[in-house]
């Protein structure tokens, strides 16, 4: 006789927990796995080819962006600040974009990237499971993906989420 009431309460708790959460937010499927194998040209120097070993040796942020993405513009200044003032190593992944436009963007707005990968077809983006720019990954010194932040990087996001991770994975080397 009381079972229906009890079930209703249990359901209520689960539903309550769901309020306010973003149902479209997806955790990366690559957490704990190495960055997918890739071979991409450098954005500024088309003759230089980068491979997945660019992540080995130092913890880095991998920022997926494009000139077509308005939110990327919003976070760009904060990325420049992160790279310059906090000394964070940021690798840029120019996703499905036009090389000239991208270079123009970096020239006029500043370049926070230690190096920039040019991915016009979006192959690496696809392999990473990128579903909406901007996205920022935390990759440890062994090239293992540790975290993905979907959306704009703000100082708050850095302080609360990314920084602790960078420090944690930076120490081990």
């Amino acid at each position: 006789m009381f079972i229906p009431a009890v079930l209703a309460v249990a359901l209520g708790i689960v539903l309550f927990a769901g309020i306010g959460k973003d149902p479209t937010h997806l955790e990366s499927a690559l957490i704990g796995k190495p960055v997918p194998v890739f071979e991409l040209a450098d954005l500024q120097e088309p003759d230089t080819i980068h491979r997945d070993d660019v992540f080995v040796g130092e913890v880095s942020l991998l920022n997926v962006w494009g000139t077509w993405c308005p939110a990327c513009r919003d976070e760009h200044d904060d990325l420049v600040w992160l790279a310059r003032d906090e000394g964070v190593r940021i690798v840029g992944l120019n996703y499905k974009d036009n090389r000239d436009l991208a270079l123009e963007w970096l020239d006029s707005l500043g370049n926070p990237y230690a190096l920039s990968l040019y991915d016009p077809q979006g192959r690496l983006g696809f392999d990473l499971g990128v579903y909406g720019a901007p996205e920022t990954y935390v990759i440890d010194a062994d090239g293992i993906v540790r975290f993905r932040h979907v959306g704009v990087v703000t100082p708050q996001v850095w302080q609360q989420t990314l920084q602790p991770l960078v420090e944690r994975y930076g120490k081990g080397g």
Partner: protein
């Protein structure tokens, strides 16, 4: 000034609702007639003020009053007038007001059409409905006020109604749905009233039945409209997607169907009383749950209103209070009656109980499927998606089982049915159904197990229904006399069940024998589908009221003979800049031809989706039949308001039982 009046009107409604929720209830519990008598006038007053508020909001839309935030967000000066009217319920706040209007309307209807009910009962029922109204009025006034103003920065023009909603479907689908959702509150109120005064007898069931049936009919039409709308508006030819919001409407429908049948048993035989009460509470609870899911942002859906955690929390609180308190009341007050009535294992009671088991299992399945991802996410066990492939495997067998059970149970008798007799009765229908389904299979070409099962179930339902009609209309005075003698209630059942058969047939055939092609076409190209040729004859542009469209002209021919010309288009609306796909559909009773423009794949080449959809209209026609059956059933003689001797309604369980000379309807 008018929007403020609207808000004021809502506040007045809240006051009246609070009074309605308390005064008659106090009167009922303490036996004070004069307090009980407040119920009807309060219900009328409540309706009047809610209607005024709704009218004022409509006025704001029709006069382009963009100082009202809700109007500015959902309308535009270029919007055609009929969409301005329906844009009132195009967003969260307005649709909530529509919900409340319907609630007040149903409350008034109950107040008006229940002269013969005992005053105590009606006082309690209206008080419960008042309580529900209080909850929703608080919700709208505190979190979702449609009359909020944007002063002093009144925008020059509005943000326009979402183009997907600029369609006939918006005008009809939500009102029908809400009539259904809200209508189940009446059954709920009756159930709660019965629990409060401990009077859980067959009379309660008889009073509840017509209200529940009407609500169910509206919900059936609402769901069918939604499916039809999605089919022609969304551009990819689907008619049901198992989207959480769609499921939210299916849940009360499934439970409501079980309730309608369970009420029949309780009315006729006085059994399963506790179960029926629980079902009435659960059905309305599912309506409320649906409201919550759509407006809280907890689940992803293309249907969902813009969500807001405050609203979600408030609504959940409202939901929790209503459901937990009613279920607790049930736990304490539902009689654990060990009825002394006996019924055999093949009695109509048992068949209807099994019907309930299957329908409740289906309800549970859809509920679990919709909420499971939430639960897993809560437990940190991952992000799951549950969609069509899952439901096709799990829901279909249940639907088929319901069909089979229906056919078998139609011949059953109350209290006891002889097994041998029943078995013999079913032989001919079984054979006929087999032949019929094989014939259909051959016509469409190709045997698949699912198609066979679905068609068999549909044929089975139709054949047994007709056979039962044949049996019952046999008469000494001729067939016509026999047919005339049947009650409307019986014909309602026949029509309803035939509707089920039609819908099952339509769903089975279109799912198994529909053909779909995604082809790359340039003007001049031609593609074949089945034995038809579809030629992309020309590409053009046209100007609409508030959009510009690129259309394609497609000529469909068979053996050189022109069958149809379709004009699918891609529309870009001026204000919101989204691109909408309008499909070109050649509708037919036996099949639809569907052409839609997809993406542009090259300078002059488009991806074109061409579909052949056999029997798809049967899906919605079947639903109309079902709803029609419900309407017919409540037009039955026994529900007519008799103007004869006005006996004070003290114990009214006897009237209406005289029509036993006719066949056993439900």
């Amino acid at each position: 000034m008018y929007p403020e009046l609207g808000q004021f009107s809502l506040i007045l409604s809240l006051l009246l609702a609070v009074l309605l929720a308390t005064v008659p209830l106090v009167g009922a519990l303490s036996g004070r007639d004069h307090l009980q008598a407040f119920a009807r006038p309060l219900a009328s007053g409540l309706f009047v003020f809610v209607a005024i508020a709704f009218a004022l909001l409509t006025h704001a839309f029709v006069t382009d009053d963009f100082s009202v935030a809700y109007v500015a967000n959902n309308s535009n000066s270029l919007l055609p007038w009929y969409y301005k009217f329906s844009a009132v319920w195009g967003g969260h706040e307005g649709s909530l007001l529509l919900w409340i209007l319907m609630l007040a309307g149903w409350t008034l209807a109950v107040a008006v059409f229940s002269r013969r009910l005992p005053s105590v009962m009606i006082a309690q029922v209206l008080a419960v409905m008042g309580m529900v109204t209080v909850g929703f009025l608080l919700f709208i006034l505190i979190t979702s006020n449609p009359f909020e103003r944007l002063l002093p920065n009144v925008p020059a023009d509005g943000a326009d109604l979402n183009p997907l909603l600029q369609d006939f479907g918006l005008i009809v689908h939500p009102p029908m749905l809400y009539m259904g959702y809200v209508g189940f509150s009446v059954a709920f109120a009756f159930a709660i009233a019965a629990l409060i005064n401990g009077r859980l007898d067959a009379a309660w069931a008889r009073w509840s039945r017509p209200w529940t049936t009407v609500a169910w009919s509206f919900l059936t039409v609402g769901i069918a409209l939604g499916s039809w709308w999605a089919y022609y508006e969304l551009g990819w030819g689907g008619w049901w997607f198992w989207d959480p919001v769609e499921n939210a409407s299916l849940l009360p429908w499934l439970a409501g169907t079980a309730l309608v049948h369970s009420l029949a048993v309780t009315e006729k035989r006085g059994v399963f009383k506790s179960w029926t009460v629980l079902l009435a509470i659960v059905t309305f609870a599912l309506s409320l749950l649906g409201t919550f899911l759509v407006r809280s942002g907890v689940l992803t859906s293309v249907h969902a209103f813009a969500s807001d955690p405050t609203r979600g929390a408030f609504l959940l609180g409202l939901l929790a209070i209503t459901i937990v308190s009613s279920l607790t009341l049930y736990a304490f007050r539902a009689p654990v009656v060990h009825t002394r009535t006996r019924y055999g294992s093949l009695s109509r009671e048992i068949f209807l109980l099994l019907n309930n088991v299957l329908l409740v299992a289906a309800t549970l399945l859809v509920l679990v499927g919709t909420l499971y991802p939430l639960v897993l996410d809560y437990l940190g066990a991952g992000r799951l998606s549950i969609g069509e492939p899952f439901y096709n495997l799990t829901f279909s067998p249940l639907a088929i089982a319901v069909g089979l059970m229906l056919g078998a149970g139609i011949f059953s008798r109350w209290k006891r049915t002889d097994g041998g007799w029943l078995g013999r009765r079913l032989l001919w229908p079984a054979a006929l159904s087999l032949v019929l389904s094989c014939a259909v299979l051959l016509t469409y070409g190709g045997f698949t197990p699912w198609a066979f099962a679905g068609l068999l179930a549909a044929a089975w339902v139709a054949v047994t229904t007709f056979m039962d009609l044949w049996d019952k209309s046999g008469s000494r005075h001729g067939r016509w006399h026999g047919l005339k003698r049947q009650s409307r209630s019986y014909y309602g059942m026949v029509l309803g069940h035939l509707g089920v058969a039609m819908t099952m047939a339509g769903a089975t055939v279109v799912s198994n024998y529909g053909v779909e092609r995604d082809v790359r076409m340039s003007p001049g190209d031609s593609a074949g589908i089945g034995n038809l040729q579809v030629t992309f004859s020309e590409l053009g542009q046209r100007q609409g009221a508030n959009f510009v469209a690129q259309y394609g002209r497609f000529d469909i021919t068979r053996d050189g003979q022109l069958i149809a010309t379709l004009y699918p288009e891609k529309r870009q609306y001026h204000v919101q800049r989204n691109v909408m796909t309008e499909a070109g559909i050649d509708a037919g009773l036996t099949r639809d031809l569907f052409v839609a423009l997809g993406e542009k794949v090259a300078d002059d080449a488009w991806a074109v989706r061409i579909q052949y959809k056999p029997l798809i209209r049967w899906l919605w026609l079947g639903a109309l039949f079902m709803a029609g059956g419900g309407a017919l059933a409540i037009a039955d003689r026994r529900y007519r308001i008799k103007v004869r001797s006005e006996r004070p309604a003290i114990d009214d369980s006897r009237s209406g039982g005289q029509d036993e000379g006719v066949a056993e309807a439900l």
